[in-house]
Symmetry: C2
Subunit: 98 residues, 2 copies
């Protein structure tokens, strides 16, 4: 019976569970950063690389028509690019003050 | 000519660049955590969810035979599961002390 249950698991299901888990694990940090707008502890270089990477994963998902990849990276991209915008805004404001 | 260059970009290339960027952006934090073994500021729940998610992405990549997904998530899984092991070890040791 367990064997039957395992056979019923499709790669698509695995992809969706994977997408949900990695997106969920990113959410609390993202929400906190968006609420407090405190981006002091974020590295601009690392975060730019992450956001661009997520955007390229999204484009890749669209290219190979893979819904799990599209879904995971679309949500993450919206959050990551918002955080990156705050980071850039804060960095520029700090430079103006200095 | 720029048009020709764009036409030469395959989805596979986009996937590899995406994989490299998201993996690279995770590296410095991972290396720092593995060096200091300080996992105090990591949430056990969030990190477990992330590590399991990355493992499922890896299985998904193997299922659909997608090299970019396999490569990105194999590297991230090794790092994330090592960090998670430290986190679990530190959490258990703290409980024993208390």
């Amino acid at each position: 019976m367990l064997d039957e249950a395992f056979k019923a698991i499709t790669p698509e299901m695995i992809g969706y569970v994977a997408a949900t888990l990695t997106t969920l694990s990113f959410l609390p940090q993202a929400i906190m950063t968006l609420k407090t707008r405190d981006t002091e502890s974020l590295s601009l270089g690392m975060y730019s690389s992450f956001t661009l990477g997520v955007l390229l994963w999204l484009i890749y998902g669209i290219c190979i028509s893979d819904k799990a990849i599209i879904y995971a990276n679309a949500v993450t991209f919206v959050l990551a690019s918002s955080i990156l915008s705050f980071k850039i805004y804060n960095t520029l404001r700090k430079k103006q003050k200095a």
